[in-house]
Symmetry: C2
């Protein structure tokens, strides 16, 4: 699977959020980072379309400006998709990574914004529907600048998984993904660091096995519950 990230921030170099996400993508071999700001003036529609054709998952990534996509991303849409017969996106996945400067809770009914993010971004859903793309669950980054280190670490993992894992994401796939990443780190490490990482990996694998056992016990109970349950 190839993931293409269309970065719609007009000045990504000045954005802490975009720089953080860019760093998160460095290690990911199947992911292409494509900044629209680098071809700001006029897009070469054909080049943009070729990039899209090569990808199986397209991610539109942008900050919410005036409750909508930034001008730059809209320009890309308006300029690249003029003759819609020139591009076939059917069956590809469309991900949306949006970061907001207002607390996410303000977007609910009665909040200071009062319009849901899913509603505000529905033009992109209509766009995905038009091209018969499969829309992935919205990925929202809630005020990156207020996040502490732990929240940022969680964001990093969630973001990488959003880019790499097949959808819909299962817990088992998340676990396997984590062990894979850890194994790659172990292979690169040496000495004391390697010993520590191997210990962590061993513990994680043991917990994974325990969890699998527990799930095996739970499954018949849940089945029983479904038959007799309320």
């Amino acid at each position: 699977m190839k993931t293409l990230i269309i970065v719609g921030h007009p000045t990504p170099d000045s954005s802490a959020t975009q720089q953080f996400l860019k760093a998160a993508v460095q290690d990911l071999s199947g992911v292409k980072w494509h900044e629209l700001a680098s071809v700001k003036g006029n897009f070469v529609a054909n080049e943009e379309r070729q990039l899209l054709q090569k990808s199986s998952r397209v991610v539109l990534q942008f900050p919410l400006y005036w409750y909508n996509v930034p001008d730059l991303l809209k320009r890309w849409q308006d300029q690249v998709f003029t003759d819609i017969n020139q591009v076939s996106l059917a069956g590809k996945e469309l991900g949306i990574v949006v970061n907001v400067g207002k607390a996410v809770q303000e977007f609910r009914l009665g909040g200071t914004v009062g319009f849901s993010l899913s509603g505000l971004l529905s033009p992109l859903a209509a766009w995905a529907k038009h091209f018969q793309m499969k829309l992935l669950p919205l990925f929202v980054i809630d005020r990156f600048e207020y996040q502490n280190l732990k929240q940022q670490q969680q964001l990093l993992i969630a973001y990488q998984q959003f880019l790499e894992l097949p959808q819909p994401v299962t817990f088992a796939a998340q676990e396997a993904w984590f062990l894979d990443k850890l194994k790659a780190k172990v292979d690169l490490a040496s000495g004391r660091q390697r010993q520590q990482l191997e210990l962590i990996m061993q513990q994680l694998q043991e917990k994974t096995t325990k969890l699998a056992d527990l799930q095996a016990v739970l499954r018949p109970i849940r089945k029983d519950d479904q038959i007799h349950g309320n």
Copy 2:
């Protein structure tokens, strides 16, 4: 009242719809037609803000591109409203005049678009809410190029009334508006044409009087109905 029309079409000269609407505005003294395409490159934010300050009704007028505002209108929003403290729009009215290339009925649930125009344009509603503007009912132009002469005449009147009449619009206000316009035409006419227009005006006034009489009769009946009714 002063109405400012922000024309967000990137090439209004090539748009039959925009040219039709532009002609409809020629006679209206309190309405300013402002094409964003004329200052395409970079907006002088201060000049744009001053135009807004002078108006009591702001109308955003644009074709729907990819289920959203055109790039040009978004650029205007992103460039002019950077420092939101520099502009006060509180209490002003915001009108939206949108023309669509797909049949309006396709925007309902289960239609080929499947997303409502009110939903797709909710970023503008959130924007209006942000600036404490009063949002007027959405004015939709359904595929202008398919409209026959009669439909275009109806559109012309509805559009002019949307720009000029106090909101919410009443039937009485629409009648008075129509008589005013007719009177202005009579004053300019002469000879046989003037006679004909005077006759039309006379008939319209008679009908208006009859209608007022009928409403006077209906009012107590409706009142009675409200008291005793189901």
